[in-house]
């Protein structure tokens, strides 16, 4: 559950910045192309996880429900990845993740990889922050959680 809001925000960022760059490069903000559509479905899956979790009062049941939804959502990942090969539309084919030498220029590949790693680490940091709060909330009746609250909150 700690992961879904981060994923939703990053997917939203990818869609909007892609759209912003699509305007000067393709001449349009949006097309119903396979990559864009499957990415939009990914965003809705994340939002679905968040809404489903908040809709169920018993958090243990809620966690189980969104775990199943997350497993269903995994089906979308290979679809997103191969969408540019299966359907030929405006979006370019793969430039990095292929067996051949990457067709992207090295001056673009380096910053791309660097930022990908940076975003991954950032994701991990925020995930840990959120997970800490969630564990504390669930264990709020345990003595260690109350000790933390007593030391920092009172």
């Amino acid at each position: 559950m700690s992961s879904a809001p981060i994923g939703a925000s990053f997917t939203f960022l990818a869609l909007v910045t892609g759209s912003i760059w699509g305007k000067p490069m393709w001449g349009t903000w949006w097309v119903w192309d396979a990559r864009l559509t499957s990415e939009l479905i990914l965003l809705f899956l994340y939002l679905g996880v968040i809404v489903l979790y908040n809709a169920i009062d018993d958090k243990r049941t809620a966690s189980r429900a969104i775990a199943i939804l997350a497993l269903v959502g995994v089906v979308n990942i290979p679809i997103i990845h191969y969408s540019v090969e299966w359907w030929n539309t405006l979006h370019q084919g793969p430039t990095v993740t292929k067996f051949d030498k990457p067709s992207i220029h090295i001056s673009m590949l380096m910053p791309l990889l660097f930022m990908a790693i940076a975003f991954k680490l950032y994701y991990f940091m925020v995930l840990m922050m959120r997970a800490r709060t969630e564990v504390l909330q669930r264990e709020r009746n345990s003595s260690w959680a109350q000790d933390i609250a007593r030391n920092t909150g009172l």
């Binding site: 912003i20 925020v126 959120r130 709060t133 007593r150 909150g153 009172l154």
Partner: protein, 59 residues
């Protein structure tokens, strides 16, 4: 310097993307922090309430 900021004529597209990315990254840190502070405060409040109850039953 001006050349750099004009981004070959794509300034509005490039910098709006950077701006949005910055906003999203900031939100991703601010919200969990606020949430954590609230959670800790909530637990502290419930401890206080319990301690208050115990006090009431004694007297």
């Amino acid at each position: 310097m001006n050349d750099f900021f004009s981004m070959g004529g794509y300034a509005s597209y490039v910098w709006s993307s950077y701006g949005l990315a910055l906003v999203i990254l900031l939100i991703n840190v601010i919200l969990p922090r606020r949430n954590h502070t609230r959670t800790v405060a909530g637990i502290a409040r419930s401890i206080k309430r319990k301690m208050g109850d115990r006090h009431d039953t004694k007297t």
